[in-house]
Symmetry: C2
Subunit: 368 residues, 2 copies
């Protein structure tokens, strides 16, 4: 590790992963944390609970398609959704800079309230700290959330009925020790991708990152780039209804789709191959990325979901997603192969194959 | 409200209360938040869950008796304890300034891990953001926590037994609609203080605030002032074992004992009278407060618990506390009266009575 914190340590790429592994996992490591899911999933008396947290430091505070408040609610709702969980309650902790305009704060708070109300999740607890002028930049927000599984889980295995001759225990699914009836109860989890699975993406990529970046840098295009910032809880609910056995769900934020897929490939010990021409990118975003020399697969999204599902479910899941306002451009973008484990391959329009790595550097600081 | 955020908005006193009421409750208001407990208490399938969050921005990062990492774990553990909840899991979100020394970060992370390990609570999920140099001051940490009640709660009311002739429903407690068997199941809550209750404090006050302040300002005394920063989960567990019907628990942090008691007095609609000579203050802290013209009742604590308990339990609770390392100087400091509702009275050694108000100003910025 370098001896000081660099912007790259917070960019979601390789240096972020190093910091997590070499510092946080080394000191905090435990089974729930080590999974490195978007949420931790915990067993508590009465069932499973998903628990997640994220800090938001985006600059500017307001950008086309959203603001730090909407982002803070969507980000945490989407991390719960990525654990297959319905959001039950959020917390909100504010770090404010002395001298911040109260109107600005109120616009942000109103936006959080509006987004939380769209989701139907209450903000039940919070905190406010104020630091002297110059010790923070206007507003930082940390939201945490708890949720419970969308797919109802029986609390105890079904008991054999003496009258009907039993039938328990059922066959356990191959990758996971806690399921029955063919449904993997530990999924969705980044460890559950399996050979032959389809890789599904809910829509266009790189909208959020390029919206914030072009807004911050004052770059303008013929049509303004808008952030995709949106809460994906009901999208995920409809996906799980179409296929209760989704293997992985991932919210491809910092580091983009490339980072999320690499994390899944490593954690599941599989190779993921995606087809470049299948990946939807808005035209203005594609142009902006080309001009700035940025790979859209490395850029943050805030309203997209990656899903890895058994091949036989893929069509039903895509169909369910396309019926939802936040999944209209959903499509299959690739599939899971056995080898080489831990790799992501990108097949281009011309048929060549290249390794898709995670970004090394500090592409876009303060993007969320 | 003033038109910009002032340091006083984060100091835990009157301006903090105004901001919470006029901004956050107005936009976010819901039954769980409106209680304004140290944690929100939620009903989920299978039982109750306590949920809390706090950001930590203390300056300096290291001070006698603790550091920002220990504080971040204890603060959230104590907020759960104040809801009568055993900590199940914590989250940790870091906002780091570019250029921060990695050794400093590692000392903080190691301290968090050590404190979490003392408590036996895992840190299960987290986040790291890095902001450019000058956009934050070194390290801000936001921890959230979830917990379940120390006192086991039956999930369904006991059913009448036909053999034994029933006995259900029992008498409901006077202040709360969800209990049975004489135990108030909604307590501990700042709304549950009742006339005649005893007010108990777990030990000396103002140690944390004065330790940080004297350390930051470079003021030295004959004996160094040490923060009381400590996790109070097992202390609270032993208190609840001595008296399962504790009415209120409160962790008197920013704004000190004065603010916590005023909040309880308002929310429960009672008057709280405390006896000044009964309140334990370490001698060096008393001298420092006198020199600086600060009322120790207004100064933050990070390892103390206030409890309001039925009079008949007071002795047993104090005895249980004194048997615990973090409650050795526990004592009864006052009692709850009916009127005037919403007030805290301080009776002095000479017998005179004065109103104990919450601090108006920004006594001590970045104290936690």
């Amino acid at each position: 590790m370098s001896e000081v914190i660099l912007l790259a340590h917070g960019a979601g790429g390789r240096k972020s992963a190093d910091l997590i592994r070499d510092l946080f996992l080394r000191h905090f490591g435990n089974p729930a944390l080590n999974v490195l899911g978007d949420s931790a999933v915990l067993e508590i008396p009465g069932g499973k609970v998903a628990f997640t947290t994220d800090s938001f430091v985006v600059d500017p505070l307001f950008f086309p398609g959203g603001d730090i408040g909407k982002l803070a609610v969507c980000g945490t709702v989407n991390d719960l959704a990525a654990a297959g969980a319905r959001p039950l309650a959020l917390s909100a902790a504010f770090i404010l800079e002395e001298g911040l305009d109260l109107d600005t704060l109120e616009r942000v708070v109103a936006s959080m309230a509006r987004t939380a109300s769209e989701v139907g999740v209450p903000i039940v607890t919070g905190d406010t700290k104020v630091v002297p002028r110059g010790s923070a930049d206007r507003i930082f927000i940390t939201t945490s959330g708890i949720g419970i599984p969308f797919v109802a889980q029986r609390q105890t295995p079904p008991q054999p009925s003496p009258q009907r001759g039993g039938g328990y225990p059922p066959t356990l699914p191959p990758r996971c020790g806690e399921g029955w009836g063919g449904v993997c109860l530990c999924a969705p989890s980044p460890e559950c991708a399996a050979q032959g699975d389809a890789v599904i993406l809910s829509g266009t990529i790189a909208d959020h990152g390029m919206a914030v970046m072009t807004c911050r840098e004052g770059i303008s295009f013929e049509s303004e780039i808008e952030s995709d910032c949106a809460p994906l809880d009901t999208l995920v609910a409809s996906m799980l209804e179409a296929c209760p056995d989704i293997h992985c769900l991932r919210d491809p934020t910092r580091g983009g789709v490339a980072t999320s897929l690499n994390e899944i490939a490593v954690q599941s010990g599989v190779c993921i191959e995606i087809y470049e021409p299948a990946i939807p990118v808005n035209e203005n975003v594609r142009v902006a990325c080309e001009l700035l020399g940025i790979d859209p697969l490395h850029v943050a999204n805030e309203g997209k979901m990656l899903a890895i599902v058994p091949q036989e479910c893929a069509e039903a899941v895509v169909e369910a997603m396309r019926a939802h306002p936040y999944g209209r451009r959903a499509c299959v973008i690739g599939r899971v192969q056995e080898r080489p484990a831990g790799r992501v391959h990108l097949r281009t329009a011309l048929g060549s194959l290249r390794i898709l790595d995670i970004p090394a550097g500090d592409l876009l600081p303060r993007i969320c």
